[in-house]
Subunit: 704 residues, 2 copies
């Protein structure tokens, strides 16, 4: 258990020292002091610079030890090599919180220097942000401990970014959107404090109700999932929005095994988000739209949306977006329709989307918004205004604002246009309304809100625990293989290992010579498949290495045939023998199941459509171990082939229940035996309901 | 051949009469006159109103016949019922162009009134826009013949919209983006002039180089494809951008047949665009980004993009977008890299994306933009600026502007932020640069440009023509069926019809009684499949209506068995008999091929993955007949299952060539016999290369 961090001291310091405060305007050291001093912070401020003198009217101390008063927070901007020393001095003085702006550490290969820094921070129990960051802002107390020169409005959004550069842009956008922040920070190299620690703090921070993250790389996926789940799913359920950079580059690191080649770490990030309730967005503008929507609205209570518009076209466009994003157009109540019909012109559309016509003035908006706000069938509202000849743009904004308190459901307002609607948008933003420039993003934001609503309703988030497993026997198998320095377990041993852990594996014998072939003939009582075993052959049937439907007494003869055939086709392949496996009925569907280890994200579990379609259709779902029932259900449901499982066109439904458990079992195996690097079960045949799931072929790979 | 339209008179009139000019400020009739008079138009203007008097200082004539001078264009805004009469008067006076603003025609069910209008327009050979529209604007001569009160800049973009309301919004956005228009129009009910006529005009309009369309519904897909192809693919190749509203609602009209149920008219619109080179966008903001990009840049010459940024994060985000949209990061030339390395700080990234670091001033942008603009390996440029402490926002804009003429490749500029970058964005927009608020859309716009570049390179756009077909025999079959009032042709007759048109159909016999069963036994020389034939059964195997691998001599016995089994399972189904079809080898892949008729779009051709996957994976591609080689190739390549065709994991490649031709043949059949409503070939087995494609089961449906 690590010591609790001094986040309170960090974000709410009573006194701040700027170490490396500079005399030269325009430099970082100068800007930092200026920002702390001149943006409303009321605590004590001490500039520190070895040269002494006066900056911005304040006397400069040459060292922090020369300050006689207590100091809560130090902001450090001296050259990298001096940072550990000045931090040591701060520690000696009893400082408990630090922000290191200085760059020149791990990011340019100086990991040792960064390690030194961590050592000092740990020695003095200092909560340290950075190094190589922009700093942070706490608008609540007007403290700008960063070198970004904008002080955002105080509000309920927390923002953390792995990119400092993005921060200035975010502040600029936020200002024009009227977004308010609880905490705003750039976390740099994350030497001491990373996303996990910050999230933990923000969860308990009463000022924060929405969390925005810009992420380039995460570690410790398992911890992140557990913590994020607590945050997004607990009683307080704060939404977390994540923009992850580097979606595509990662895909290039395809591994050799089937399982590995289908994913790439982006699939892992998606799984992480899906399992933890984190809402993943794809673009910067989505991040903003959604943050604003969550920040300014109560959570949507259902998926029924009403649209009010003075133009048919945008109404149709937003309807498209609504229905393609899992929302529905609300069926307005008869009272609403009657009320609208009575007061709107005859040619208005009083059904949803409500078209109040191009000549609508503010009064029609007034009527419509009040009606849908009161309609129980409506969960969320999108209001669209196009500036036409008769349109009262600002008056309409004012009327909407006058209903602020009465509207108890999410409302997103799109005044379509630029200059002609700018004033109205400013009014609306200042009054705390969510606005978008175009109508489509409004629907998307409500859809994501609805996704979050569904997430917090999920009940079962506890993990699987299977007791019908023989861990000691699995251990023994692993030890034996390691003893002979083998990492890639052959199919027989792989099957045995899986069988010990409760998987249903087909009866199988490894045949390495004629003698074993004869013995195998008397072991089986029904037809078998013969398959070549070779570390050099990935696709056995391509080289004639598979023989179907061999009667037990035929095994010795066919054994020789297959061997000869493969030798002829692949003279240089090392052939370790032939595996005989009992035949399985051809009903059901072939799948692929696998586990692979991602160095950053941990144990990834995959399930997908097997056979020829695996590579072509890439219909694969990913999860991060440990998996729970919600996760395994999500994985199976997200397969495009999923309807086949429910029984299609007279085919019997398949044993989805057993498949679900199998994923849970695979997850448990992966967690219990971290020394297993990869498991590839391909194919796995899912049989009709009640008949189980059988592993037809398997390979287990251990770590070096 | 219709008479040529008087578009020149319409868009460039020397004199304009506003019929229904109103005395009351704020009304449409007043605004119209005001817009024609006060926005710079230098022609003669005549207000017409039955009441006479003076409006805006002009004497009002009571009737158009009272005007003694010639009138080129009339703008009509009198109540609907009077429109035909005033148009008649205008016609008598020799007016050749009209815009009817008045609403109250077909859109509220008054089709007859609209027909009257058309009759008058045709009688006097008047080129008429509307009714029920906003009007048009020709910025070149400052003529605002609409009731939108903004006069946009003159430029090279033509915009036409089926929604009047959207026009005002578009004008507003366009103003702030600095977009210039050649022609701007709302086309309303399209009583006389629709998209086809306008496109034809715009193609030849020297002022137009980009065409933007907002569409709610199109007709005559075939003509649209032919014309759009000419426009997008000819020597002048003007890009057409289409935003289609109503993507989702249409999907609900699923028909009974397989083919029909997989599509819906949205698939048809996508096919229309894919076949004609029209660029379909999904949202309003995409429409703008793309229009601006095409309007202000030369066409991209390749798919290699260079990114210049002062912030890593946005650089990564845009790289994601680049590589997921079919573009590539350019490999900078060694000279460029050397040059950048020499002049940029050491920690800058001189490889693409070029990171000139957070403290970059205008000089580093200057260096980078010149270097990539000169680099032969770079086809397009995205320049990103985040406003940081040291950033010289406007100075950077000015430096970029100074290179305007030297940059001969597409450049999209993203100054990320709002207020702090507003001035710079205005400078850039006024100088004719393409800007986006966020970096991701920049990549998307270049990707669409690259799509268009690939399109205009396509050579083969001429259609198929198969001569090995027996049309007269097909005709005979159709006539025979119609004679007995049959619309749904049974499998035997369907197969015969298809065979006459050159399809390879399996040998097949219809068996309706024991006698025929005995005869069938001597007709076949290899095993057959027996299948029930019933108008009430869609999925034959679900009810035991299929028996595989029946030896010819067994046909009589199995015939009885199958019949009995289906009777037991579906006592109420009408059983017409049993079809015996020769067995086909089980290599290859089962597909579905079909044709269906869309009342608006014409003959739609579909090809998709067959069997159980048809409904689950919905891997289907659509085309609109007539198809050419480019279309059929596109359809086949767009199937997710396509890699299977090329031979996968040792399987032989399939006969894609024959499949392609089969689609062409199906298209020819559909065009030649419009009386065929639907063709459903399911399954169709594509065999290994050189072995052809065989139709295993088929159904042809005729129109009532």
């Amino acid at each position: 258990m690590p010591m609790p961090h001094h986040f309170r001291t960090l974000f709410y310091p009573k006194s701040v020292a700027v170490i490396g405060a500079s005399h030269t305007p325009g430099t970082v050291g100068y800007s930092l002091l200026q920002n702390v001093l001149q943006q409303g912070y009321t605590g004590k401020v001490y500039p520190i610079n070895i040269k002494g003198g006066t900056i911005l009217g304040l006397p400069v101390k040459r060292q922090i030890s020369h300050v006689t008063e207590l100091i809560d927070l130090v902001i450090i901007a001296v050259p990298a090599q001096f940072v550990p020393t000045v931090l040591e001095e701060a520690g000696q003085k009893g400082v408990k919180a630090a922000v290191v702006i200085s760059a020149g550490f791990k990011e340019i290969g100086k990991k040792e220097l960064e390690d030194q820094l961590v050592t000092v921070a740990e020695k003095y129990d200092i909560t340290l942000i950075g190094p190589n960051c922009l700093g942070f802002i706490n608008p609540e107390i007007m403290l700008n401990a960063s070198f970004a020169n904008i002080m955002p409005k105080a509000g309920n959004i927390a923002f953390m970014s792995q990119s400092g550069a993005l921060c200035s842009t975010v502040l600029d956008y936020a200002k024009s959107m009227g977004l308010g922040f609880s905490k705003f920070m750039s976390i740099g190299n994350k030497a001491c404090i990373g996303e996990l620690e910050i999230l933990e703090y923000l969860y308990h921070d009463p000022k924060t109700s929405v969390i925005m993250m810009y992420v380039e790389e995460l570690e410790e996926a398992q911890k992140m999932i557990a913590l994020a789940r607590e945050i997004t799913h607990g009683k307080k359920h704060k939404p977390i929005l994540m923009l992850k950079a580097g979606r595509t580059a990662a895909g290039s690191q395809a591994s050799q095994s089937h399982t590995g080649s289908l994913g790439g770490s982006d699939a892992a990030y998606s799984a992480l988000c899906a399992q933890s309730g984190i809402i993943r967005v794809d673009t910067i503008s989505e991040l903003f739209d959604l943050a604003e929507c969550f920040s300014e609205n109560t959570l949507i209570k259902g998926n029924k949306v009403a649209v009010i518009t003075n133009a048919g076209g945008p109404g149709v466009l937003v309807t498209d977006e609504i229905s393609s994003k899992g929302l529905e157009l609300a069926q307005l109540s008869p009272e609403t329709i009657n009320h609208l019909s009575k007061h709107l012109p005859q040619s208005a559309n009083t059904h949803n989307p409500i078209d109040i016509l191009g000549d609508a003035k503010a009064d029609r908006y007034d009527l419509a918004i009040q009606a849908v706000a009161a309609d129980q069938n409506v969960d969320g509202i999108i209001l669209i205004l196009t500036p036409q000849a008769m349109t009262e743009i600002e008056a309409t904004a004012k009327i909407i604002i006058s209903h602020r308190k009465k509207i108890k459901k999410p409302l997103i307002i799109t005044f379509m246009g630029d200059q002609s609607v700018q004033k109205a948008n400013t009014l609306l933003n200042n009054a705390g309304f969510t606005t978008t420039t175009f109508p489509e993003p409004a629907a998307k934001a409500l859809a994501m809100m609805n996704y979050f609503r569904n997430w917090i309703k999920v009940r079962e988030l506890s993990g699987y625990r299977f007791s019908d497993v023989h861990s000691e026997k699995v251990n023994k198998i692993i030890d034996q293989e390691l003893k002979v320095d083998n990492r890639v377990l052959n199919v027989e041993i792989s099957s045995k290992l899986l069988a010990e852990y409760g998987f249903t594996v087909l009866k199988s014998r490894m045949i390495e010579n004629d003698d074993q072939a004869r013995r195998a003939a008397s072991t089986f009582f029904q037809p078998v498949v013969l398959k070549i075993v070779s570390p050099d052959i990935n696709h056995k049937s391509d080289v004639g290495g598979v023989e179907l439907n061999v009667s037990p007494h035929d095994i010795p003869r066919k054994y020789k045939e297959v061997l000869a055939r493969v030798k002829a086709n692949q003279p240089r392949a090392r052939l370790l023998g032939i595996q005989a496996v009992e035949m399985v009925e051809s009903t059901g569907l072939d799948l692929i199941l696998g586990m692979t280890t991602d160095p950053k994200m941990g144990k990834l579990i995959a399930v997908g459509l097997g056979g020829i379609y695996t590579e072509v259709l890439k219909d694969v779902a990913w999860g991060i171990a440990p998996l729970n029932k919600y996760d395994t259900d999500r994985m199976i449901h997200s397969l495009r082939a999923h309807p086949i499982f429910d029984g299609l066109r007279g085919e019997p439904p398949l044993d989805t229940d057993e498949l679900t458990k199998m994923l849970g079992r695979l997850s448990q195996l992966a967690m219990r035996f971290p020394q297993i690097k990869e498991i590839d079960m391909n194919p796995v045949r899912i049989l009709p309901e009640g008949e189980g799931v059988k592993v037809l072929d398997a390979r287990v790979v251990l770590f070096d």
